[in-house]
C-alpha cells in the first residue's frame, strides 16, 4: 500500500438546496496520476475548489499529508504544496509568459522592500535567480521560445502548458489539473500526456487530473474515480472503470449499459 498524500474524507458541498458533492471520499496515493471523471455537472470542479480552499466543505474534511486543510486560506494551501490550473485558464493576460511564472516564484525569491525600492545588488541577484528558474520551468513545458509573448497572445494549447509551468513554480507536491485537455487537438493532447508522465516519473509529482477526454485519462492514469450527480459511483484502475456498468450507464444511458452487459 503506497502512502496517501491527499485524503478527501466524506466531503459534502451544498449551494442552497443544490448538493454539488454528496459524501465523496477519495484517496490520492503519492507519486501517482489519479483521474476524476464524470459527466458535466458531476461535481468535478467543485472537488478541486474544495481542495484548494476556494469553496468550503459543508461537511467532511480534506487532509494533505495527514494535516487538515479545512478553513485554511487558499494562498496558504498553495504554500503547503498544492497547485492547480483552471478549466478556462486564468493567466495574467497582459504579462509576459516569463512574468506569469515569476509571479508564482516570488513568495520564495522575493527580497525585502528596501532592496526592491533601491534596486540594489541583493534585489538584482534575487530577480536574476527567479528569472533563471522561470526559464527552466518554461523549457520543461516546451515554451522557451515564447517567454516574452504576452500570455493572452499565446495559442490555447500553449496557454494550458504555461498554466502548468506557473503551477509548478509554487513547488507543489500535488498538482491539480482542471480539464487540461478540453479544446486541444489530438497532437496537443499527446504532448500534454508526455509532459504529465514526465512530471510523475522523473519529478516525483503526484497529479490529480479532472477531465472527460478519454484519450488523456485512460492513457496516463494510474487510478480513476468516477463522479455522477455529486456521488462517487466507481473507482479503480482504468480497465476496471472502463468495464463498470455504472460508468457506462452514467456516460451513455441505461439502454447502452444493458447492451454492453448483454
Amino acid at each position: 500500500m503506497t502512502e496517501r498524500l491527499l485524503h478527501v474524507d466524506s466531503v459534502t458541498v451544498r449551494f442552497g438546496g443544490l448538493v454539488a458533492l454528496d459524501n465523496v471520499s477519495v484517496d490520492i496515493a503519492r507519486g501517482t496520476i489519479h483521474a476524476v471523471i464524470g459527466p458535466n455537472g458531476a461535481g468535478k470542479s467543485t472537488l478541486l475548489n474544495v481542495v484548494t480552499g476556494l469553496y468550503r466543505a459543508s461537511e467532511g474534511d480534506v487532509t494533505f499529508e495527514e494535516e487538515s486543510l479545512s478553513g485554511r486560506a487558499p494562498h496558504l494551501i498553495t504554500r503547503q504544496g498544492i497547485a492547480r490550473t483552471f478549466q478556462n485558464t486564468e493567466l495574467f493576460g497582459e504579462m509576459t509568459a516569463l512574468d506569469n511564472v515569476v509571479v508564482a516564484l516570488d513568495s520564495r525569491y522575493a527580497c525585502n522592500g528596501i532592496s526592491a525600492a533601491l534596486h540594489d545588488g541583493r534585489w538584482r541577484a534575487s530577480e536574476a535567480e527567479a528569472r533563471g528558474e522561470a526559464r527552466e520551468l518554461l523549457a520543461l513545458v516546451g515554451l522557451s521560445e515564447d517567454q516574452d509573448s504576452a500570455a493572452a497572445a499565446l495559442p490555447f494549447g500553449k496557454q494550458r502548458r504555461l498554466e502548468i509551468a506557473r503551477a509548478l513554480a509554487t513547488q507543489p507536491k500535488l498538482l491539480l489539473l482542471d480539464e487540461p485537455a478540453a479544446g486541444l487537438r489530438a497532437a496537443e493532447i499527446e504532448a500534454l500526456n508526455r509532459v504529465l508522465l514526465d512530471l510523475r516519473t522523473n519529478h516525483g509529482l503526484t497529479i490529480l487530473v479532472i477531465d472527460h477526454v478519454m484519450a488523456l485519462v485512460m492513457a496516463i492514469s494510474d487510478r480513476i474515480s468516477v463522479l455522477n450527480f455529486g456521488r462517487k459511483i466507481a473507482e479503480g484502475v482504468p480497465e476496471e472503470v472502463r468495464a463498470s456498468p455504472e460508468v457506462i450507464e452514467a456516460y451513455l444511458g441505461k439502454k447502452a449499459a444493458h447492451a454492453f452487459s448483454a
Binding site: 486560506a73 494562498h75 492547480r84 504579462m95 515569476v102 509571479v103 533601491l118
Partner: protein, 317 residues
C-alpha cells in the same frame, strides 16, 4: 546605461539652474506640481496598479498637512521630521483601511473610501482646539539646518528632490515583485491567490502606500500654502486627484506627473474662463475616460524619443 546617466546629469543640472533662470512664481508652481504629483502617485499605486478604487486621497493629504503642522505647533517637532513620521502613520491607517477590501470592492469600496474623506473633514472641523476648526490653522515654517524655508523658491530645494526620490522608489517597486503581484491581482485575483500570494496583504499594502504618498504630498504642500483650511480636504478634492490621475494616465508613475502639470498650469492659461474652470476639468475628465482611458502618459511617443528615454515610462505590463 550611458543614456540613463546622461538623463540623470541633465535632470540634476536643470534642478540647479532652474532657481536662477525662473521667476519665484514659476518655482512655486513647480513645487505645486511636485506635491500634487506625489499625492496622485499614491492614487496611481492603489487604483492604477492594484485596481482598487480609492476616494480617500484627500483625507490622507489632510492627515499629512494637519498632522505635521500639529506636531510642529504643539510638540516642536520640525516639519522635516514630522512629515515622514506622519506619512508612516498614514501608511498604517491606509493598511488598516485596506483590510476593508476583504469585504467590499468596486462601487462599495468607492463609497467606503468616500466616507473616510467625509469623516476626516468633519473631524477636522469639530476638533477646533487642535485644528482650529472651520477657520483652519497656520502652518509653521519649514526649518532645516537652521534655515527657514517659506517661499516657493526656497521650498523648491526640499519638495523637488523628495518627490524625485519617492517617484524613483515607486518606479523601482513597480518593477519588482510588488508591482508584479499587484498586476497579477488586478488581472486575476483568484489565480494570484492560488499562486501563493497573500492577496489581502498586497492590497492593504497598496492602500498603505497611497496613504504614505498622500500624506507626504500633503505635508510638503502645507508649508507651501502656509495655511490649512478644512474646506480644502473635501470629497471634491478627492475627485480632483482622481481626475488628475485619469487625465495623466493610471498605469505609470509618469501619469501622476503629466496630469499634475496639466491641472496646475491649465488655470493660468485659462484665466479668462476662471468661472468655468470646473466645467473645463469635468469635460477633460469625461473626454479622457471615453476617448483615451490610458491617459496622456499612455500616448505613443515617436520611436526616437522612446529610445532616448530608457525605462522612464516603465510600461512593462
Amino acid at each position: 546605461m550611458a543614456g540613463r546617466a546622461l538623463i540623470v546629469a541633465i535632470a540634476v543640472a536643470a534642478f540647479f539652474i532652474a532657481p536662477h533662470a525662473l521667476a519665484e512664481f514659476h518655482l512655486f508652481q513647480i513645487c505645486l506640481v511636485a506635491g500634487t504629483a506625489l499625492v496622485v502617485l499614491g492614487l496611481i499605486v492603489v487604483t492604477g496598479f492594484a485596481g482598487q478604487i480609492s476616494l480617500a486621497q484627500a483625507a490622507f493629504v489632510a492627515l499629512g498637512g494637519y498632522g505635521s503642522a500639529i506636531l510642529a505647533a504643539r510638540w516642536g517637532i520640525p516639519l522635516w521630521a514630522g512629515v515622514p513620521i506622519v506619512s508612516i502613520g498614514a501608511f498604517v491607517v491606509g493598511f488598516v483601511l485596506g483590510q476593508m477590501t476583504l469585504r467590499v470592492s468596486g462601487h462599495y469600496l468607492a463609497l467606503v473610501t468616500l466616507a473616510v474623506t467625509a469623516i476626516v473633514q468633519i473631524a477636522l472641523i469639530y476638533s477646533d482646539n487642535v485644528t482650529g476648526g472651520a477657520a483652519g490653522m497656520p502652518v509653521p515654517a519649514f526649518e532645516i539646518f537652521g534655515l527657514t524655508l517659506s517661499t516657493g523658491g526656497q521650498l523648491y530645494y526640499v519638495i523637488v528632490p523628495a518627490t524625485a526620490m519617492l517617484f524613483l522608489a515607486v518606479h523601482h517597486l513597480n518593477h519588482s515583485h510588488y508591482g508584479r503581484a499587484l498586476a497579477a491581482i488586478r488581472q486575476s485575483e483568484t489565480a494570484a491567490e492560488l499562486m501563493g500570494l497573500n492577496v489581502l496583504r498586497y492590497k492593504a499594502a497598496a492602500f498603505g502606500a497611497s496613504g504614505f504618498l498622500g500624506a507626504f504630498g500633503g505635508g510638503l504642500l502645507a508649508p507651501l500654502s502656509t495655511y490649512l483650511d478644512p474646506a480644502q480636504f473635501g470629497i471634491t478634492q478627492s475627485v480632483y486627484f482622481l481626475a488628475v490621475a485619469v487625465v495623466g494616465g493610471m498605469m505609470s508613475p509618469l501619469g501622476a506627473l503629466v496630469g499634475s502639470i496639466v491641472f496646475v498650469l491649465l488655470p493660468d492659461f485659462l484665466q479668462a474662463f476662471q468661472t468655468y474652470l470646473g466645467l473645463v476639468f469635468a469635460l477633460l475628465l469625461l473626454g479622457f475616460i471615453v476617448l483615451r482611458p490610458e491617459g496622456l502618459a499612455g500616448l505613443r511617443l515617436p520611436k526616437g524619443i522612446v529610445a532616448a528615454l530608457p525605462r522612464l515610462g516603465g510600461e512593462r505590463r
